[in-house]
């Protein structure tokens, strides 16, 4: 019996090991907020001078911070030590500090670099393109936990209300209104980027089409109309429709009155009457000089190239409603009017810079003025 008792002295060490496992899980749970911040708000971690990640991502001041949010390549860059020398996340649990790291446990993607990846894109029952990552805690060697981070930055909800389509109608009969009550519609905040279609190319075994020049990754993807449809479909989404684009870009008069059937059609996202905006002024005055603020609202000819800046955001969170790039849209009413032509390729005085105005696009990418696109989806319940 005494022998047993002597042996039982070791019992606390058993418990401490058991508790170590529990503590490891507790540390990971506690780190949730910090991990999410790094993933969703990666831009907050970028120092003023930028970062150095020649093997994963290039830093460019003309690319806004939105590009680094839910950005797999930024995750790769951060954990490779390109943003700061010690990327570990410090967490305090029960008065002690623990150091969390992501592990480079995933196979390299040769189209990007020969280095192991800190993530892998995976699909699940209720998500697509999730970022699978292996987390470890320095203080608990040989333990890891695989988690998946979902892409919560891509799209945004279109509130349920009555909307209009097209420009101000000339008669009541032509006033087309519709509603999305009981529908859960989500619209991409940005154009689909080269970086995003690279992942698609890899998925459909067309690695040779991957755009390797990292400085082009934030640019809108240049796909034919047919491939734009295919890309969106591959994510269970659809190419954006013109009536959804109008709903997302035309600010309602009264946000708190979703059942108001009087739907005005503002000419710009930020001002109902275009004549009071820089676009209207430019129409009247051929010598109009663009200001930096003008270019933030709508990038037109003469503005510096800037993408993923949220200065142009619409009332519900969609960027680039006017200016920037021509955008491909499905028009269910007039299928041939499938292009928002307002873009940085047209001078500020162009009459195309107006919400609800659309023209025809034949579906092939022009040589000079590339046509951007974005997707939307409706969640079925």
């Amino acid at each position: 019996m005494l022998f047993f008792r002597n042996e039982k002295v070791e019992v606390p060490s058993v418990r401490s090991q058991a508790n170590t496992s529990k503590l490891f899980a507790q540390v990971i749970f506690k780190a949730e907020k910090h991990i999410l911040e790094l993933w969703e708000r990666g831009d907050k971690f970028i120092p003023k001078e930028g970062f150095e990640c020649p093997n994963s991502l290039s830093f460019d001041k003309s690319t806004g911070r939105g590009f680094y949010q839910c950005q797999p390549h930024f995750w790769q860059c951060y954990w490779s030590g390109g943003v700061k020398k010690s990327p570990e996340i410090k967490i305090e649990v029960f008065g002690q500090t623990y150091h969390i790291e992501a592990l480079p446990n995933f196979a390299p993607i040769s189209e990007y670099s020969a280095e192991n990846r800190f993530y892998e894109l995976v699909d699940g029952e209720n998500f697509r393109n999730g970022l699978k990552v292996d987390l470890s805690v320095k203080e608990f060697p040989n333990k890891k936990w695989s988690v998946v981070l979902i892409d919560s930055c891509r799209d945004t909800f279109l509130p349920e209300r009555i909307y209009g389509h097209g420009q101000t109608p000339s008669s009541r009969e032509e006033d087309f209104i519709w509603d999305n009550f009981d529908r859960k519609i989500f619209i991409d905040k940005w154009y689909v980027s080269n970086q995003q279609i690279n992942d698609w190319f890899l998925k459909i075994n067309q690695g040779h089409r991957v755009i390797k020049n990292k400085s082009l990754w934030a640019n809108p993807a240049e796909l034919s109309l047919e491939e734009q449809h295919l890309y969106c479909k591959s994510l269970g989404k659809r190419l954006l429709s013109s009536h959804l684009f109008d709903a997302a870009s035309m600010t309602p008069i009264n946000l708190s009155d979703p059942l108001n059937p009087k739907v005005l059609r503002p000419q710009t996202p930020w001002q109902r009457d275009i004549s009071k905006t820089f676009l209207g002024m430019a129409r009247k005055n051929s010598d109009y000089q663009l200001t930096p603020l003008d270019c933030m609202l709508a990038q037109v000819e003469g503005c510096a190239d800037k993408l993923f800046y949220s200065d142009s955001v619409s009332w519900m969170g969609m960027n680039y409603p006017l200016g920037f790039y021509p955008e491909s849209l499905v028009n269910e009413f007039e299928p041939k009017l499938n292009l928002k032509r307002s873009s940085k390729f047209l001078p500020a005085a162009s009459l195309s810079h107006e919400l609800g105005k659309r023209e025809y696009w034949n579906g092939t990418q022009p040589e000079v003025t590339s046509v951007a696109f974005r997707c939307y989806e409706e969640v079925s319940e």
């Binding site: 949730e32 995976v122 333990k143 509130p159 059942l259 269910e332 079925s380």
Partner: protein, 266 residues
């Protein structure tokens, strides 16, 4: 000294197989009224006590319940029993039955249901300690969609702690993923979220129309009409295609034609 450890760390590899599924527990129920967290369960001796029960979805998406029953040591050593039953059944009815899994010859047992963990620690006859710590993943509750919420976070938690590598089965194009009768009653639940390439709806004047996997652009000739909604008219009325097809629309130059309650364009 050979201690046996079955510790819960990684969802995929380090779980005790007997309890692995508890990570996805939806509820812990039937908690014992008197036993306290981490205190040795020692009375009433030689009786069978339900410590707690865990409700979870099994691999075939059936709601099941694991009853955790402990025969408190007294004249004989203790036994911990795990009895898997239907979620609606009562653990009490299985109190004296053999467990689906049993740990016998136990000198003592402590358990805890606190701090997002289910922990059980058993001292065996030879004084070896067997301990399980099963983390409880926060349950995902769907939020009402509001401004700035993304589709991803509407569907799933932002961080998934219990991801298991598995082939996701998606429905092929053309399959019906939501069936709706002419009287607007819905058959079963929507499977459309599992469609490989999204889904489309054929509007029928109901809040929800029948849906199919795949992509078929609405509003075109000989295709389904587009859904226009039903509240924009601000009228309390029932729509039926043959009487009032204003819940749907077609491209300019085409008309809505009804096939039963379903709206198509010609």
């Amino acid at each position: 000294m050979n201690f046996i450890f079955i510790l819960v760390l990684s969802i995929t590899s380090l779980f005790a197989a007997d309890f692995e599924h508890w990570v996805n527990a939806s509820q812990v129920v039937d908690k014992h009224e008197f036993y306290k967290e981490n205190e040795v369960v020692s009375v009433p001796k030689d009786t069978n006590q339900i410590l707690f029960a865990v409700i979870f979805l099994n691999t075939t998406q059936e709601l099941r319940k694991d009853c955790i029953i402990y025969k408190v040591p007294g004249e004989e050593l203790g036994i911990l029993k795990l009895k898997n039953i239907r979620a609606n059944d009562n653990c009490k009815d299985y109190l004296f039955q053999k467990g689906d899994r049993e740990w016998t010859d136990l000198r003592s047992l402590q358990y805890s249901l606190a701090d997002n963990f289910i922990s059980i620690s058993m001292t065996q006859k030879n004084y070896e300690i067997l301990r399980f710590d099963i983390p409880q993943i926060k349950k995902f509750t769907k939020l009402d969609p509001k401004m700035n919420i993304s589709s991803a976070e509407y569907r799933a938690p932002k961080i998934i702690f219990n991801y298991l590598d598995s082939n996701v089965i998606r429905l092929k194009d053309g399959q019906a993923c939501q069936k709706v009768k002419e009287d607007c009653s819905i058959e079963g639940t929507s499977q459309c979220e599992s469609c490989e390439n999204g889904w489309f709806e054929v509007p029928n004047g109901c809040n929800v129309g029948p849906k199919y996997c795949g992509y078929l652009s609405c509003g075109k000739r000989n295709g389904p009409a587009c859904r226009r909604g039903y509240r924009y008219q601000l009228q309390e009325k029932k729509f039926h295609c043959t009487e009032d097809s204003s819940f749907a629309y077609c491209a300019k130059g085409l008309k809505v034609q009804c096939q039963g309650a379903l709206a198509y364009c010609i």
